[in-house]
Structures are given as C-alpha cells and as structure tokens.
C-alpha cells in the first residue's frame, strides 16, 4: 500500500516537473527579457550588469531550480499584457471559474442521476427514449455550439436570461467575489452552467442508467421485492445506493474536464474567469500568464488523478490482490 502511494506521488511529481520544464522553456525562447526591460540608451555594460543581477548568466539548471522555487511560492512574474503580478490576476479570477464549475457540477450530478434513474425504471416509455435521443445529440454537439444556441434561444429570442458576464458581484471575505448572492448574479450563471454541465450530465445519466439496469437484474433486488418492500424502497434504498460508487468516481474524474471546458464556456459567455484569461494570453503570447495557467491546470489534474487512484485502491480490494499477484 505504502509503496503504491509513494510510486503514484513520485509519478505525479515527475509530471509536474515536466510541465514546469515546458513553462520555463517558454520564458527562455520568447525573446530576450533584458531588451524588454531596459531602454534604448542602455550600454552593453549596463545590460551585462542587469543580466548578472537577474541571474540570467547562471547555468540552466540553477535558473530552472530558481523558477521552480518561485513557482512553488506562487511567484510567476508580471503579465506582459496587463502589467500586474500573474498570481494576483489568477487569484482574482479563480472564484468566478470555481463557482461556475461548482454549479455546473451540481446541475450535472443532480439532473444526471435523476434522469438516469428515470430512464432506467421506464425503459420503454416514450419520454425515456426521447431523453436518450436528446442526450445523444448533446454528446455530439460541440460545447461552444451549445452555448451559442442557448444564447440564441434564451437571451436573444426569449430574452429571459443575460447572455454575458457575471451580473452583480459582492465581496465574500477578503478576495472571494461571489455572484451567487445577488439576483442578477444567479440569473447570469444559469446559461453558462448548463452549457458546461450538459456533457457531464449526459455522461452521468448514461452511466447511472446502465448501472441501474445491471443492478435491477440482481438477486438481492428480486429478494427485496419478494419481501414486499415498496417500489420506492427497492429503487432508491437498494438499487440506486449500489450504483453510486462508480458514479461518484467518474464525477470526480470529470471535475478536471469541467475546468478544462470552462475555457470554452467562459469565452462564449464572456465570463471573467481563469479560462478566458488564458485564451487572451494565448492570443497575445503573454508568457507569464500562460506558464502559470499551464502549471495550475497540471496541478489540479495531478491532484484529482492522485486522489481518484488512491480512492480506487481504498474502495476496491480486488486491485490490491491483483497487484500483489502481479509482483510474484
């Protein structure tokens, strides 16, 4: 068990190191930082002095180590485009992204599980087949197109909901600006959250449906029915409870995808989050922001995967046996 955990942690650290190397090399290849810092009239001696003072003459590995040291402390330098510390920029926009991801995760989970249960229990109903067909279209539609279509229907034609921005935001604590406490903020989050959660919702729905159908065939469900339990107790107390373990794992793994697809959703709805910041920085080749975002996303993914791997190990005893056997 300990060996497995250590191996996974070393692996994750390696991944982070590779991502850090890519981020670091971005800095080194995109122009000479000295020429963007000093004026035209600086002499060669001045430049050399500044180069020495900034440690740019140090060996590659020393500079790389310094970069990692700074990155661990959250120091990624100053954005070329906005002239602000990168970490400040990202932290100020992170709440918007996290709120969006949270709300769409909840929508995906609640709707996905309830629709999945419904379609599993009413397999032959016309509503179930309707839901399944719609979900197939939902999977094949690209995220950005779903967003655009929702804007068209609900913001342009019906004018029910706002099509861009976060609405009114209020401070919650020192650095968390939330839109969930105001009326306009809650209205603004509906369309982006649905756009972002739709794919995950269809995924969860299909998973729950498949698992439910599987479980409903088992003997203990038949026995529960034979004991005269109500449909409700059988379906929710016995069947659903046993389908939820894989569903929760998949939902956890999907958290990373939600953050990734937030880039697209944020751009469509002009949501002031980290993803929109990243797209801007790619367009303007704003290296410090790109490097910081690269490492942030890698960190989130590595942590999620690590937790899920460890959870698998804890939850499923068969994995432990397989690994023990494989080593012999």
């Amino acid at each position: 068990m300990l060996a497995f955990i250590i191996r996974r942690i070393v692996q994750s650290a390696l991944v982070m190191l590779v991502v850090a190397a890519v981020s670091f090399s971005l800095f080194r290849f995109v122009g000479d930082p000295i020429s963007s810092m000093v004026g035209q009239e600086a002499t060669m001696a001045d430049r050399a002095a500044l180069r020495e003072a900034l440690g740019l003459n140090d060996p590659f590995l020393v500079q790389f180590a310094r970069f990692i040291g700074n990155a661990v402390q959250g120091d990624f330098g100053i954005s070329y485009r906005l002239q602000q510390p990168v970490m400040e920029l990202i932290l100020s926009r992170l709440p918007a992204t996290l709120e969006l991801a949270l709300i769409s995760g909840i929508i995906a989970f609640v709707l996905g599980v309830s629709l999945g249960v419904y379609t599993a229990l009413n397999r032959r109903g016309w509503l179930s087949s309707g839901i399944m067909t719609v979900s197939l279209i939902g999977v094949s539609l690209p995220t950005f197109l779903i967003g655009v279509l929702l804007i068209w229907v609900f913001a342009v034609e019906l004018q029910w909901l706002p099509s861009f921005g976060r609405g009114e935001v209020v401070w919650l604590g020192d650095w968390w600006r939330t839109g969930l406490l105001t009326e306009s903020g809650r209205r603004s989050i509906i369309l982006p959250a649905i756009t972002l959660g739709l794919y995950q919702m269809t995924l969860i729905m299909r998973l729950v449906r498949a698992e439910m159908l599987e479980v409903l065939r088992t003997d203990y469900i038949k026995f529960a029915r034979a004991r005269g339990l109500s449909n409700r107790a059988v379906h929710f107390g016995h069947a659903l409870k046993n389908t939820l373990v894989p569903v929760i794992t998949i939902t956890g793994l999907q958290l990373g995808s939600i953050i990734a697809f937030a880039i697209i959703t944020e751009t469509v709805f002009q949501w002031p989050g980290v993803g929109a910041l990243f797209i801007r920085s790619v367009q303007f080749v704003d290296v410090p922001v790109m490097a910081a975002y690269l490492m942030l996303i890698a960190l989130i993914f590595v942590i999620i995967n690590l937790i899920v791997d460890l959870l698998y190990y804890v939850v499923d005893p068969r994995l432990r046996v397989d690994r023990a056997n494989a080593r012999h």
Binding site: L145, W152, F261, I264, T267, I279, S281
Partner: protein
C-alpha cells in the same frame, strides 16, 4: 460441373471483390451508414470543389460589394436587388460560398491532423510493441499521463506553447500548421495503444517467426506483415478521430486561437455569426453551424458503423 467450377475459380476484378465483401454488404444494408456516407460525401465534394461550385469567391475583394451586406437568405437586397441563397454576412460575402471555402479549411486541418496523429501513433506503437523494454514503458507512461487530460485542453496548451516559440513574424503564416500539429499531438495516444497491443500479439505468431528466421529486416516485417493486420482498428479510430479533429479545430477557431482570420474555417464563421445574433442576422450563424454539425455527426456515425462492421464478434 467442371464448367461451373472453372467459372467460380476465375479471378474476379478487385472492384467486384470490394462490392462482394462483408464490409460493403454491411454498408449497403445499413440505412444509417448510407445516409451518413451520403452526407459526408456531399460535404467533402462541395469542400474540395469549392472554387468551381461556389457562386462567388468570398476572399476576392474585387467581387465584394459592401452594399450587399446583411442580405437575408432568398430575399433581394434592399439596395442592389441581388439575391443570395443563404444570405450575406457583414461584408457582403455570400454565406454559401464562405461555407464551402470554410469547410475546405476545416476538412484540410482535420484530415492533416488525423494523418499526423496516425503516422506518429502507428510508428511509436510499432516501436513500443516490437522493442518492448524501457522504450515501451516510457511511451506508455507518456500516453497514460496524456490520456488523463481532455484532448481539447492538450491541443490548446500545445498551440499556446508553440505560438510562444514561433517568432512573431511567422505566427500568421504558420498558424494553420501549428494547429494541425497541436490537434495531431493531442490525439496520437489512441493509435499508439491499439497498434502496440496488436503488435505484441502478432509478433509472437508463427508467420512473424518465420519471417524472422529467413532473415527479413525488422522494418520489413513491421511494414509488410504486422501493419496490415492492425489497420482495421486504426481505420476505425481514424474515422472517429476525424470527427473529433474537425470539432477541435472549430472549437479553437471559435475561441480565436485557431486558423488566422484570413483563412476562416467553419469555426471562425460561427464566431463571426455569433456577433450578429443580437441584431437579428441569424443566417450568418445558423448555416455554418448546421454544416459543421452535419459533417461531424455523419463522419462520427460512419466511424461507429465501421467499428461494428469490422468487428465480427458484434455480429
């Protein structure tokens, strides 16, 4: 009797053998495959033949008339009286023509990205499966790590990183190739995994052993004996991968980080169309979006059909 036997033994033309094959039969009898194939064929032909089919060349300034701008579909323009099938955009470009040219770029990027991913994935998969050892474990580690990220995110990150490395003067002209490499690199893992698995199975079979014994070069064995045996699943992945690559390209272009504005793909057209949604010019958005969907969906369905058709266990 002997006469009939002789008739049956006669070698048939390759065209007949193709028509008579299992896969062709499955295609002929599947309505979904027929419709998906027809839609893909129409879009692909229209895209390839765009310069001859399109009524206007939307990127030739001499053919443009700003007075034609915002003409609704099938209605005469208020100033010039010109009629356009699918209307015109803000600059008076015929939407139908821009779609044909846009589909051309979307398809070009998609096909090239798939080819790139396929060549890279097959090569690495063959090497990993044939050699084994540390190369194999290294490649599969990389593949595992990459699979844990969504491919659109990988493509976006590679595109961003690559843009950082390219000198500013070349960014516009190289954008389309960078995009192809980014999408290709985000998708090679699928091919490598399948090819590696199949190579490991095939290499221990007797015909490969025989080829080794007579002293055939490993490269020849891989190319002549093993590769043809792994092409089935690779084709399936490539077909579905084409749909994914087209959508990935459209997404990146929609986000404004894909093809340059001078070469608008379907994604760029949708991006432009979105800006005019609020003022009521819905046709600038709708028609490119429908084309993109029809193309991606039909290619995807073709891939699904091919997977079932090539897998005898499912029959």
């Amino acid at each position: 009797m002997a006469k009939i036997d002789a008739e049956e033994m006669k070698p048939r033309s390759w065209l007949f053998r193709m028509w008579d094959s299992d896969v062709a039969y499955s295609f002929r009898t599947s309505p979904v495959a027929l419709i998906a194939g027809l839609v893909s064929l129409i879009v692909v032909l229209a895209a390839v033949l765009a310069p001859w089919i399109a009524p206007y060349n939307p990127y030739d300034p001499s053919q443009l008339n700003l007075m034609d701008g915002f003409t609704p579909p099938m209605e005469p323009n208020a100033f010039t009286g010109n009629v356009f099938w699918l209307g015109t955009d803000n600059q008076g470009r015929d939407v139908f023509s821009t779609i044909l040219y846009g589909a051309r770029i979307s398809l070009f990027v998609g096909v090239m990205a798939v080819l790139f991913a396929m060549v890279l994935g097959i090569t690495l998969g063959l090497i990993a499966g044939w050699r084994g050892g540390w190369i194999d474990s290294l490649l599969m580690r990389i593949a595992d790590v990459q699979l844990s990220f969504p491919s659109i995110l990988i493509a976006l990150l590679i595109f961003g990183v690559a843009r950082g490395f390219i000198p500013p003067a070349l960014r516009e002209t190289m954008a389309i190739w960078v995009l192809i490499v980014a999408i290709g690199l985000s998708d090679w893992v699928q091919y490598a995994r399948v090819v590696r698995g199949a190579t490991m199975v095939e290499k221990s079979k007797e015909y490969v052993q025989a080829a080794r014994v007579i002293g055939a070069h490993p490269f020849k064995i891989l190319a002549r004996h093993i590769l043809p045996n792994v092409m089935g699943p690779v084709l399936v992945i490539a077909t579905i991968g084409l749909a994914l690559a087209i959508i990935a390209e459209a997404t990146l272009s929609f986000l404004g980080v894909g093809v340059p504005p001078t070469q608008p793909s379907l994604g760029t057209l949708i991006r432009i169309g979105q800006q005019y949604l609020f003022s009521g010019e819905w046709w600038i958005l709708l028609f490119p979006a429908v084309t993109l969907l029809a193309l991606a969906l039909s290619v995807n369905l073709l891939g699904d059909w091919l997977r079932d058709a090539l897998n005898p266990r499912l029959r």
